[in-house]
Symmetry: C2
Amino acid sequence: MTLRALVFDAYGTLYDVQSVLAKAEALCPGKGEVITQIWRLKQLEYTWLRSLMLEYEDFWEVTGAALDFALRAAGVEPTDAIREPLMDNYLHLDPYPEAQAALAALAAHKLAILSNGSPRMLEELLRNSRLDRWIETAISVDGARAYKPHPSCYALVEPALGVQKEEVLFVSSNSFDAVGAKAFGFEVAWIRRGSGDALATMFGMVRGRAEELGHAPDHTISALTDLPKLLP
Amino acid sequence: MTLRALVFDAYGTLYDVQSVLAKAEALCPGKGEVITQIWRLKQLEYTWLRSLMLEYEDFWEVTGAALDFALRAAGVEPTDAIREPLMDNYLHLDPYPEAQAALAALAAHKLAILSNGSPRMLEELLRNSRLDRWIETAISVDGARAYKPHPSCYALVEPALGVQKEEVLFVSSNSFDAVGAKAFGFEVAWIRRGSGDALATMFGMVRGRAEELGHAPDHTISALTDLPKLLP
């Protein structure tokens, strides 16, 4: 293939969604871990369920509903005083430590994001994290009114970037997303994050492994900084 | 409404999917609980993901793939010697203790199942459990080649039973299924199963509560035997 663009997933791939843990623990002592884990699990479940029910709501709404579920599951009433700082944190997620250096090393290529995030969430996240220095275009699935891994999400990339699917290397640490991107026809690099410790969490056990859905990724790497060696 | 049919979900509603726990524990000592929990979590995830990817495979295939994932997550290689007895158990699930009496009490009505299960799985399950004495029709989502909560699944009921959606009371203990059925237009009874203990399991924490997806059920009950008092 002639590589013309690298397209990154955002949450969990460039940005560490577990970085809300400290704030959750400060707001709900002793419950930060379970709230963070269930929040992320339900956030993804709700994207899938809403897509299937043909009742799309944008990712800000879905993320808020998943937070309400997680708080209640932990026995915490979702008041504004707890909800608002946690939701706000989603606009200020930490990039993974290697993200800046990895993107800088790839800057000769067209770099973009394809994310479940709403346009506003992605815009704020890119600006707050300064990753907008490297990422040329942020594509939101909002344009398809469905969530990954629905093929209509991945189909947004070609018109947005003016490339063909064979010219795209898609990068995600979310195993279901790597499957969906591969099924659509991208070349795919799956970032297999997480140590033995991470696999001991609920999220790690349920989502931190290769899926049994066919469509194996072309490349399995352990960090964003492994990407340059995949390129021609 | 004029009630003409009660339509039941199968797995988790009439049949206890946790009843595979003893066999899983015997085959994989010390790991039965985690295998059972992850198996069920991934089984549902894979129904949603395959539906979204437009890559339907029937529930036997999906259940097997989810088992492979769960075994590997628990550090167990999915050999035939372990897989086959666990898969076979899915054809011999125990009905909940109150199921026979509850269905007998409702036998004046048209009783049916609408399930993710494949036609063969439902046929064997009904025969092996003797619930075929009460259940007139088992409708598989296989006819829609999509999984719940896609509306095309619920739409199978009207032609199969010759009723209108307003004449159906849909019964499920799966909160996402209760949401999907309500969104489709059925009257819905959600069976909220599980004690404080059950909520402490991974499955209970992630799936054992009302969803934050709108479409609240019309009725929340605690067992199948609560159904007769809902009827006119």
